[in-house]
């Protein structure tokens, strides 16, 4: 494909009128910038609302500021960064982030993988019905999901506690969102519940894409079911597994943000806060913009590094089936 397009009406050229004297060079120049004109709206928007604020966050991280337009920003150098670890709740937020990340893995990887492998080829009609039902949580709004689970998991009136009391004769109902031992697991569960259908479908789609001849060949060689899974299916699924592992590592804390915000506000006793929620509270509750920005910079770079490692790993380990 080339940019030659001389002699064709160009409605996009309204910005400048071609001068008849230098008609050809102008049109050539115009043809050359044409792709950029088409890209402009998307680029301007992404540049202005994503990359510019990203740079601004880096900049704000060396200032002390309280978000008030009238109050001056005070340059403090690296102080925000050196203070980071001593900030209130930082330790517990990091620890909780690890819990969320690991806690979501059964929902994003393990259970979906088992179900996808176990239920491969169950017939088109049935599988369409299951797909439609299993996927439903994915399209629900996080706030609506919080609202529904808040009702289901309500200590005294929720159906879950009623059922648990009936089945296990609990001495007192579980306070899912206000008991500091339960709250983080409740949030993790809701995050996972929303995700599990999506992950299952991703793995099922990957299973469908696998060339069944490999499995037939292994069966002829008298491989048993476990050997087939271990030596054939898992290697072939490894790109998908790595992809989902990366997604849930990078985003578990971001996905849980809405549930924390609506259901617990980080409590009880900060047991459900995580690093993203911390950025939020530093920024918009204690108005410590410097701390929030410095923490944002560190987390951004940290997660960027993680993403890079995952991509390296994907390239190295993945066994591609052509």
């Amino acid at each position: 494909m080339s940019y030659e397009a001389v002699g064709v009406t160009r409605r996009h050229a309204s910005g400048a009128k071609p001068q008849s004297k230098e008609r050809k060079p102008f049109l050539l120049r115009l043809a050359r910038i044409k792709p950029y004109i088409y890209l402009l709206p998307a680029l301007v928007s992404i540049g202005f609302w994503i990359y510019k604020p990203l740079l601004q966050t880096f900049n704000l991280s060396v200032y002390q500021w309280n978000l008030l337009p009238t109050s001056p920003k005070q340059y403090v150098g690296m102080k925000n960064f050196t203070n980071l670890l001593g900030l209130p709740e930082m330790g517990i937020a990091l620890w909780n982030t690890l819990i969320y990340t690991l806690g979501v893995i059964p929902f994003s990887l393990i259970i979906p993988l088992i179900i996808a492998i176990a239920t491969d080829n169950i017939g088109r009609k049935a599988s369409n019905v299951y797909r439609a039902l299993i996927f439903l949580p994915m399209i629900m709004a996080p706030v609506a999901v919080s609202s529904v689970w808040r009702w289901i998991m309500h200590p005294t009136n929720g159906i879950l506690n009623k059922a648990l009391t009936d089945w296990f004769h609990l001495s007192e109902p579980i306070r899912f969102f206000t008991d500091e031992h339960w709250a983080i697991w409740s949030i993790t569960f809701i995050t996972g519940w929303k995700l599990i259908g999506f992950s299952t479908l991703i793995f099922s789609a990957a299973m469908t894409g696998i060339n069944k001849e490999y499995i037939e060949a292994a069966k002829i060689d008298r491989a048993n079911r476990l050997q087939i899974i271990w030596h054939i299916l898992l290697p072939l699924l490894s790109p998908t597994i790595l992809f989902m592992a990366m997604m849930s590592t990078l985003f578990a804390s971001e996905w849980s943000f809405s549930y924390i915000n609506v259901l617990t506000q980080g409590g009880p006793f900060n047991t459900t806060t995580n690093i993203y929620y911390l950025l939020w509270t530093y920024g918009f509750q204690s108005f410590n913009i410097g701390a929030s920005s410095a923490a944002a910079v560190v987390f951004f770079l940290g997660f960027g590094l993680l993403a890079w490692l995952f991509m390296k790993l994907t390239k190295k380990l993945s066994f591609f089936d052509n």
Binding site: Y36, A42, W49, I139, V148, W151, F257, F300
Partner: protein
């Protein structure tokens, strides 16, 4: 599977498969079912565990509708979601066309910059964006909700894949017939990619309708916000009005649920495709 006893073994395996899937489907659907059922129960019944409303009523809907400016917020959500979706489609159609139609300097760099935006979490850039919106005077304003989201990196990448699959020879043929680049885009390519653009549009609409972070940040008054933020305020203000809360939740989810009811095949397919890329 062994040849002998194939039938018996086959059927047990099938039963286990279906049992696992039914269990998963129940876990996925029950909360949504329970939301709707609770919303249809009269106050005296809300706290019972009956799985169907014994005396069907819509009083919860009336209560929810009157407790918060529901109509206004639904309208706001609809305006924001529709404009955002249309703008995101337009900007990404133009961008995807540029990437697939021409080879130009910096194209892979620009593509990389767009693709890498998924590494920038909302919480990392929220403070500068909040300041920008405040400077424009767009807090508590629909413009403040819409303008930051007129381009979507996800949409660009998805449409890029759709455009890439369109045969180059057909573009060449249209060019030989004298079509301009602009004409090729709208009269040759677009009619053929209608269905994939529509399903990307549906995903964008759902994402925008469900968005909560940004309205949470830039709006404070109920009349100026979207239904998600309104629902959150209803949740935190409630006493024990579970019936009304579930009615409000159902109303807030209704557009998305209806779209899903009609188009679940396309929605699932494009979600899965988007996830796999």
């Amino acid at each position: 599977m062994e040849k002998v006893g194939r039938n018996a073994g086959f059927y047990t395996a099938a039963t286990i498969k279906h049992a696992a899937l039914i269990a998963l489907a129940l876990v996925a659907v029950f909360p949504i079912y329970w939301m709707i059922v609770t919303s249809l129960k009269p106050e005296s019944e809300v706290f019972t565990s009956s799985f169907i409303p014994l005396h069907l009523t819509f009083e919860n809907y009336a209560n929810a509708w009157n407790a918060i400016p529901m109509g206004r917020m639904l309208g706001n959500s609809m305006v924001v979601a529709v404009i955002q979706t249309v703008m995101q489609l337009l900007t990404s159609i133009l961008a995807a066309y540029a990437f697939t139609r021409w080879e130009f300097r910096g194209s892979s760099l620009i593509y990389g910059l767009i693709a890498l935006t998924w590494l920038v979490p909302f919480q990392v850039i929220m403070i500068p964006n909040y300041v920008a919106i405040s400077d424009f005077g767009w807090r508590d304003h629909l413009a403040g909700l819409i303008v930051p989201n007129i381009a979507s990196a996800f949409a660009v990448l998805q449409l890029y894949n759709a455009f890439k699959s369109y045969p180059k020879t057909l573009i060449e043929a249209a060019r030989l017939d004298g079509a301009s680049d602009w004409g090729v885009l709208w009269r040759t390519i677009m009619p053929n990619l209608k269905s994939s653009i529509a399903s990307i549009g549906i995903l964008l609409f759902i994402t925008s309708w469900n968005d909560y972070f940004w309205p949470l940040l830039v709006t404070t008054k109920l009349e100026n916000t979207t239904v998600q933020k309104g629902l959150q305020m209803f949740i935190s203000s409630d006493g024990n009005m579970w019936g009304a809360l579930m009615a409000a939740t159902t109303i807030a989810s209704l557009p998305v649920l209806l779209i899903y009811l009609l188009l679940q095949r396309q929605i699932i397919d494009s979600f899965v495709k988007g996830g796999l890329k």
